[in-house]
Each structure stands twice: as structure tokens, then as C-alpha cells.
Symmetry: C2
Subunit: 209 residues, 2 copies
């Protein structure tokens, strides 16, 4: 059986984004936010996701400026760090995931938390001015909020906080939004995940569609 | 502000899966399929995903037996290959992603298709009896179906076909289902993606929850 389908990558992107813009309710976003939201919807394959996306004031500008200035991107999972398109990064930015560092298991035992959360302790030397991308573990986002309770903890420039799931995801994102101390993007509720998080970073990193 | 949340990984999984089993409509699945569907819903954070999941007859058994016999897992994207939990694999199975092989760009130009599709040409030596995991590109799934039109092309043991998006995703999965030549798992329509695909592989690889 012959199969007929679009094989031009640029055409696939253009048609996908046109479909999203015709079907999704994007009116409440400014131009920067809209581009990010479109790419997040694209990654999820889900019209309606936009209803759950929240951008704090000027977060896209803050995050983009940080990346242009060379900020590293700190990721909670390898699916996030591997998904980020290196060619879109404006300053050959470092992409860091500490989850599989050898000391993480002991850190997790010592702190009485998950490995995903404990791995963030290794972010401290990189955290000042960084762009954070949490797309998997609610415990990682909660742990970051706890770290930021201390005045000694360096502040990231922006947090893309999109952990996914049924236990703690909605709560951790609501807590990030309520804390209001760092510019952030969240997906309210259970939806989220590595693909949506990667899409937000890729959209912030470059205006290219 | 103190944050109260579950920090025990096993407890988080147990509570998540219990929530999914209380909310999702899983009656039409057999026991093997149910475990896979639960983990796919978990990865997506989306009750209702189950309505779009289709398992061909005994696909979970076919795929699990292949993995136990040492079959490699062939992935269309690094987000898929990185997400697979190596500890769950029953035979220290190889996990292969050819997308970033140096010859892929030239292959894509020569074939007039995307890099994601062209990369599958490099699967041929591994394809016989393999478990395929396509979680990103509809063009990759279409290209695999085209390869399988030839009698000379080795047959995989099973295909997890869950590309995502707005152009070709629904069509490529419908074509896989209609072809009926290889046991498969699909998510009908636009939904899909690397996390859902990884979840299916992780669930098939081990009964551990």
C-alpha cells in the first residue's frame, strides 16, 4: 500500500502551528507567551492545554535574556536535557542534569527524599541566574521551593515548572505560583511532562518556528 | 513556608496508580494491557487517554517475550531512548537510537524525507525480532511501514507506535493499525509522545509497579 504524507520538516512544523493557532484559544497571551504556548501544545498534541498554562509577568523575556547572557539550563530528568535542541540555544548554553550523579543516591537517603529531589542539591553552584526546567518530578519542584526559602540560596532567573502526574504535581505547581519569588511558567493541574517542558525551553531559546 | 508532600518514591507510585485505577475506564483491557495502559496514563497525567489506546492481540506478550529473549529496543528519538529504565529490562537489552548518526542527514536528502524517517534505514541490521518504540515522528512510523512493504525487510516482534501531533500522527497510527502485519500498541489521534511511549516500554519490560 502506498502511503501519502508530508515529508518536509519545515512544512510539517508550519502546518502544525497553523492548525494550533486556528483551534486553540490563545487571545489572553502576549506575543512572546503565545509562541511558547503554541510549541507546548504542539509537543502535547493537545488543544486545550492552553487553558492550563500560566506565565508570570515577563517570564519569557527574563528567561530569554538569561539564556542570551549564557545562563545554564538545569533539568530534573534526562528526557528533558536530551530533548532541548542545542542549535536553538543563543549562547551555546550548558544543559545540566544531575540526576545520575553518583552521590545522588546517598544524598536522597540522607535527606529522606527522592533521588529527583536530592539531585537538585548539586545545582547550587549553577543556580544563580540559571533557567530551571522541571518536567518530571513534583518532589524536585517542592525541593527547589524549599531550597529557595533560604536567603543563602542563589536565585534562578526563571523556572519552567511542569512536573506531571497524580501525586504532588498540581500542588507543587500551585506552590511555585503562590511563592511568586521567581518568574515562572507552569501548567496547572496534572498535565505537564518532559516534552511540554522541552517545548517551552526550545521556544524561549529561539524565535524560529 | 513549609511544604507538606510525599517524598517516598514507592508510595508516590502506589498512590498514583491507585488514583488512575479508580478514575480511568480500564474494563476493556486484559491484565497485561491494563498494566501498560495504567503506566501510559501515568506518564501523560491524563485520565481519558485510555479511550485512545489500542492493543493488537497479545502484543504485550509478544513484546515481553522478545525482550526476555534479548531483543533490542529501536527508538526514533533520544527522549525515548533516554527515558527507558535500564534496570527494568529483562536481558540487559540494547537500546538504540540512530537519529544522530552522522550519515542520517545525507540519507534524508537522498530519500527526500525527514531525518527522523531516514534514521530508520540504519535500523535494518537490528530490526528482525526487535521491539520498536516510535514516540515522536509520524514520518518515522510511515517510513517503517514503507520498509515493511518489502519482503526483504526483517520483521520486528512488536511496534509501540505513538507519534504525537497535528500532521500525520493520527494518520500514521491508523495506517499501522490497518496494516495488521506486526503486533502493535497505538494511541489513536493526536495524543502520544515520548513519555507515553517510554511508559509502555517500561511497563512491558517488567511487571514491577
Amino acid at each position: 500500500m502506498p502511503y501519502t504524507y508530508e515529508t518536509n520538516g519545515a512544512a510539517i512544523y508550519a502546518e502544525s502551528f497553523a492548525t494550533i493557532r486556528s483551534e486553540a484559544k490563545l487571545d489572553r497571551f502576549d506575543a512572546d507567551e503565545e509562541r511558547v504556548a503554541v510549541r507546548m501544545i504542539h509537543a502535547a498534541g493537545l488543544i486545550g492545554l492552553e487553558e492550563h498554562i500560566r506565565f508570570s509577568s515577563d517570564v519569557v523575556v527574563h528567561a530569554r535574556d538569561a539564556l542570551k547572557a549564557g545562563a545554564p539550563i538545569l533539568c530534573d530528568a534526562r528526557m528533558v536535557s536530551e530533548g532541548i535542541t542545542r542549535k536553538r540555544l543563543p549562547a551555546d548554553n550548558q544543559v545540566i542534569c544531575t540526576l545520575h550523579a553518583p552521590e545522588v543516591a546517598d544524598l536522597a537517603s540522607g535527606l529522606g527524599t527522592t533521588r529527583s529531589a536530592a539531585a537538585l542539591e548539586l545545582w547550587r553552584p549553577h543556580l544563580g541566574g540559571a533557567v530551571v526546567a522541571i518536567g518530571n518530578a513534583p518532589t524536585a519542584l517542592f525541593h527547589l521551593l524549599e531550597m529557595l526559602e533560604s536567603r543563602d540560596c542563589p536565585r534562578p532567573a526563571a523556572i519552567i515548572g511542569c512536573p506531571v502526574g497524580f501525586v504532588g504535581a498540581a500542588e507543587s505547581k500551585a506552590a511555585l505560583w503562590a511563592a511568586g519569588t521567581v518568574p515562572c511558567v507552569i501548567v496547572q493541574g496534572r498535565l505537564g511532562g518532559s516534552a511540554i517542558t522541552v517545548a517551552a525551553i526550545n521556544a524561549i531559546a529561539s524565535p524560529a518556528e
